[in-house]
Symmetry: C2
Subunit: 302 residues, 2 copies
């Protein structure tokens, strides 16, 4: 079992930066606890609208102090935005009024174009858009784990004008908690994640809704095997978080969905026409790519 | 770790039936080993075209004897057909010429209509169509496990004229290896499994083939997370086995796929029109059904 997040009595490095985490859910609380455990930060403020989340995080030593306003959160050397994707551009606009020029900002959002564009438009040249490819079925600070990011890939997506020193600090932050950092453009990230994450989530949600239809929904439980269980697992994800992600990445997700629909129609034709040789060739190609992709991905991000 | 299949020195019950398993892959070898371990059978013949599979199964004590002809396999009190779905009706027709009238036949196929119809048409009133909802990513007797069926659901799908004593024996066989037996009609089984297993497999295969397309395939590996890994896992399944299943159940799978396509088109419209409230409602309904279905399924079949 992976260790649950908990305070570890480790003295921070002298002069270590003060951290604020905005959004004390699974991701924010795990990062706060991991950075405290690594001694990378000297003092951690958590900022959340939910007093219970702040209390839990403080009582379990995941953060040092709970604050409720963005103005208070802005008083730090590093501000991590760990909220759902939707509010991120607005939060950046608000933060700009509060942060000192030296403060480095980063985020954990699953879609990077809107964040990078907002930071560039706002002239936030020390705001480093980032996305850790990590997560879990559970949500909230109660599910936080100090090792959530260990061995995971974190994608940083700089925009023109981003200060190199800020990017270096955010890279060091992620490496301190055991993550592997890669750098790409916001569009390249969003195009890839539309395929590897957002499309599969949409397909799983649609499959769960399909199974719930009259004539299919009732009485399916005895016929559920491990295949369906794993395939559908991501349909248990938070609807608001994923509405935000789908909306923020609609420009790349919609064409991916159309292309998938075309692929699915070809499978349907093979079924209707009894083209079993053609179907077998498709399944063989699919299995070969599956095995190749998973082999190449290795044990990364799990 | 679950125990791998291995010979256990357990004396069979006096007068225990002699078993033949046709197809010594993961499923057949696991069942043979589990029935030997339970002392439910006195002597186990394995029948397979692949001499290496037979040798492995015999050397590891999963079976007592390897035979290569269906005629030899038919000389038993119980014959279990553990082949892919496609050949099952033909195998039943061949078996009919060899088996003694008292011999009970059953199978492990994932589609039950073709087996039940063949048995009924052939007058094989002691042939009990069955389907254990179990499996694993790996194949072959080397992946066999004595506990593969423990806690799993096995569906028996009788047809008019099936002898009750035969069904009782097959029920006892499955209960001896720790499975839970339910009984339904072949059509009801095939309609449900089209939704809970065959459609998800087809969607995962299609997603893997989609991801392999030029412009999407290359360089996706760094962006693979646990969500995609679990969602796509069933696309690593054997193409020939699944071609057979899709072909055998096309009558129920094709309409399920069309209905899913309609659902997916609605998601696409929500994306195109920016209907985020509508999308959130869909995701909420999907998540609620996911959670409800998995709660009802409980720990069964995993």
């Amino acid at each position: 079992m992976p260790p649950k997040a908990a305070a570890r009595p480790q003295a921070p490095t002298a002069g270590a930066p003060r951290l604020s985490v905005v959004g004390v859910g699974l991701m924010g609380a795990s990062l706060a606890a991991a950075l405290k455990a690594a001694g990378f930060v000297s003092h951690v403020r958590g900022c959340d609208e939910n007093p219970a989340a702040l209390r839990h995080a403080r009582d379990h030593g995941l953060i040092d102090q709970g604050v409720s306003s963005l103005r208070e959160a802005a008083d730090a050397d590093i501000v991590v935005l760990a909220t759902p994707v939707g509010p991120l551009p607005d939060l950046l606009a608000q933060l700009k009024a509060y942060v000192r020029p030296a403060t480095v900002i980063t985020d954990l959002g699953s879609v990077k174009g809107p964040v990078a564009r907002a930071a560039e438009d706002l002239g936030l040249t020390r705001c480093v858009p980032g996305h850790p490819i990590a997560g879990a079925e559970r949500t909230g600070p109660g599910a936080a784990r100090v090792d959530l990011f260990r061995g995971r890939t974190v994608v940083l997506t700089p925009f023109p004008g981003l200060e190199a020193a800020a990017q270096d600090l955010v890279r060091a932050l992620w490496e301190a908690v055991g993550a592997r950092v890669i750098v790409t453009s916001p569009d390249e990230h969003d195009r890839a994640l539309a395929q590897t994450s957002h499309l599969p989530h949409l397909l799983a949600f649609a499959c769960a809704e399909h199974l719930a239809q009259p004539g299919t929904g009732p009485a399916l439980a005895p016929f559920v095997g491990t295949g369906l269980r794993d395939f559908l697992r991501i349909a248990g994800s938070d609807p608001v978080i994923w509405r935000d992600i789908f909306a923020a990445n609609a420009a790349f997700l919609a064409p991916a969905l159309r292309a998938y629909g075309t692929m699915l129609a070809a499978y349907g034709r093979a079924l209707d026409e009894g083209d079993w040789a053609g179907l077998e060739a498709r399944l063989g190609a699919a299995q070969a790519y599956h095995d190749c992709l998973m082999k190449e991905a290795g044990d990364g991000n799990r």
